[in-house]
């Protein structure tokens, strides 16, 4: 604890005039102005499982909070409650994969990345088993503080060979990544958006289809290129609308596969002379921004580069909109930062 934090701990607080509730872990991500789809992961998994008996679902006491309950209701005999035991969850999923199944194992991102890492590494990734690890509360999507905020999950997992890493933006991504994960013969870690998930990308690109391993241009723009993943693609698109009113033309390249990164597309777009801004719902250390920077440097493509990401800190608890504003992930803050860089 820092001295400042210790001092603040003993400062009395007053009840605020406007009530702002801490976002509960079960809450859907607020996305004003977008239509939503309920539990796209759960329903997509049920659909995929209809014709594929290899698919089973396992969870560590978080079926309801990862939308796996939809699968459990549809296929009670193919659903395994492993209890509050994430190391076992991953080991048992590996065991089922050994027996020819395609296990979807769900928990929160913090528990998969921090608590179960060795088991994902040695029982799943080292043997390249087709276990699909689908995790709720990625990055800063809860106001409960660092115990539930997986701000470094991508950094942890990017170093793991064989593991494909997905960071979907919206309901379309979440639903379409399910069959793509099944078709991919190997382990996958996917960040999950659950509950009522907004439909974002098809508003800009009605023909959009998620493709594993591929970055796709969602919005063209002359002045700035935002390379983003996850919910930050939604925020970047919203910010681009705001900036368009100021005559700033922002392109948004959505990069839902963090690993393997679509370096070819990124380099092609990065070489067009625009300010390049990476935007990720993750620590500035070890996520999309650093992955893109590395690709650019290695290829000798060096546009002006800025990173929108969470700071290298344990984050505050509180209401999510407040926190997104505080840490620069809100639409208004993204637009403000980009204006300042031009």
């Amino acid at each position: 604890m820092t001295a400042a934090a210790r001092a603040r701990k003993y400062e009395p607080r007053r009840v605020p005039e406007t009530k702002v509730a801490t976002s509960a872990m079960i809450a859907s991500l607020a996305a004003e102005g977008y239509d939503t789809v309920a539990a796209p992961f759960g329903h997509a998994l049920v659909e995929a499982a209809k014709d594929d008996a290899r698919i089973v679902g396992l969870t560590a006491d978080l079926a309801k909070y990862t939308d796996l309950h939809v699968f459990a209701q549809a296929y009670p005999d193919r659903f395994y409650q492993m209890g509050m035991a994430e190391q076992l969850l991953m080991s048992a999923a590996a065991g089922m994969a050994h027996e020819g199944f395609i296990p979807f194992a769900t928990t929160y991102s913090v528990f998969a990345s921090r608590r179960a890492y060795d088991f994902i590494c040695m029982a799943i990734a080292e043997e390249n088993l087709p276990v699909k690890i689908v995790c709720g509360l990625p990055g800063l999507t809860t106001g409960y503080g660092p115990s539930h905020q997986a701000t470094e999950d991508l950094a942890i997992f990017r170093g793991l060979p064989n593991l494909t890493i997905l960071d979907p933006c919206d309901a379309t991504d979440v639903a379409q990544m399910v069959p793509a994960m099944i078709a991919h013969d190997g382990p996958v870690y996917a960040r999950l958006l659950r509950g009522k998930v907004p439909s974002v990308i098809t508003r800009y690109r009605p023909d959009y289809q998620f493709e594993l391993g591929r970055a796709q241009m969602i919005r063209e723009g002359r002045d700035v290129l935002v390379v983003s993943s996850g919910i930050m693609t939604m925020r970047a698109l919203d910010a681009a609308e705001l900036l368009a009113k100021d005559g700033i033309d922002v392109a948004v390249l959505h990069c839902p596969t963090i690993k393997p990164l679509d370096t070819e597309t990124i380099l092609a777009e990065a070489g067009k002379g625009r300010l390049l801004v990476t935007a990720e719902n993750h620590s500035e250390v070890g996520g999309l921004g650093e992955a893109v920077a590395r690709s650019l440097l290695r290829a000798g493509v060096t546009p002006a580069f800025r990173q929108i990401a969470l700071p290298d800190q344990f984050l505050e608890a509180g209401a999510l909109p407040t926190l997104h504003d505080l840490y620069g992930l809100s639409t208004a803050k993204i637009a403000q930062q980009i204006r300042g860089w031009l």
Partner: protein, 283 residues
């Protein structure tokens, strides 16, 4: 009726099989001048009983769907399992000289991608039993009657993940899961009983809902009886056999040496150890 086990297909005694496993492990130890020979000599009787009495397998088809699965959670015991796999005809004897060498199929720690018959990549301790739970669930879901055996060490009783798996196996009534604990009371820094609160092993597993037995892991008759009881127990619960073994068993001058995680064997002692084994070949 399951496929005949290797033992029933041949007239070679378990004692002779255990002798063969010890001999091959020593030969591999000599190749590298090191290895987990103490553990291999200690667990040889357990492996002989597993591979030549209990396990249903096909030497010419190590991935045969109908086989019983045998997981080596303790990856560093690979030298012992290689010896058993060679004895069983799954690995060729003429590869003993490659043990631990570049490009060998027998690396110092057991890995699924290197070795026929090695079901999982072990070595990160506390993994095997959880994987065994998943395999046992998978086999039940497929309607198979195969057993999953997980060989773990006493040191792995210190890993929390082991107990997650212990509880889960009971929860899912995994009667097709047999856990074998090699209790040689030796881990890296010293006696297992001095490291974490182990003790009252069988009652502890029983309290978790397992069918638990504790046997002299160097007594072949006792092992056969324990494996038979584990395989035929009618209750819908997982089974554990805690095998109290003696490190370096079968080579008296090594048995008497101050036992450590890595038993010290001088270059000229490999031949001496092999000579001792060769002086008394079991029938």
């Amino acid at each position: 009726m399951p496929e005949l086990t290797a033992n029933l297909r041949s007239n070679v005694s378990l004692a002779r099989r255990a002798w063969g496993i010890r001999r091959k492990a020593l030969q591999m130890g000599e190749v590298q001048g090191q290895g987990y020979v103490g553990q291999a000599l200690g667990v040889a009787d357990v492996l002989a009983t597993s591979y030549f009495h209990a396990l249903n397998l096909r030497a010419d088809d190590p991935e045969w769907e109908g086989r019983d699965r045998f997981l080596l959670s303790i990856g560093h015991y690979a030298i012992a399992l290689y010896a058993a796999l060679i004895e069983a005809g799954i690995l060729p004897e003429d590869e003993i000289g490659t043990y631990g060498m570049d490009d060998s199929r027998m690396p110092m720690s057991g890995m699924a991608s290197y070795t026929p018959g090695m079901e999982i990549t072990g070595g990160s301790l506390g993994h095997g039993l959880g994987i065994a739970v998943g395999m046992a669930l998978g086999l039940k879901a497929k309607g198979g009657d195969q057993f999953v055996y997980n060989l773990m060490s006493d040191g792995e009783l210190g890993e929390g993940s082991t107990w997650e798996a212990v509880m889960s196996a009971t929860q899912h009534r995994l009667s097709n899961l047999i856990c074998i604990v090699d209790f040689n009371n030796q881990q890296a820094d010293g006696p297992t009983r001095d490291a974490l609160a182990v003790g009252a092993e069988a009652p502890k597993w029983e309290a978790f809902g397992w069918h638990a037995q504790e046997v002299d892991g160097n007594d072949l008759d006792a092992l056969v009886a324990a494996f038979d009881a584990a395989r035929t127990c009618p209750e819908p619960k997982p089974r554990v056999i805690i095998c109290n073994t003696k490190m370096c068993k079968g080579v008296p001058f090594l048995e008497e040496r101050e036992i450590t995680h890595f038993v010290r064997v001088e270059p000229d002692e490999w031949t001496r150890a092999l000579d001792i084994l060769d002086a008394e070949v079991p029938a």
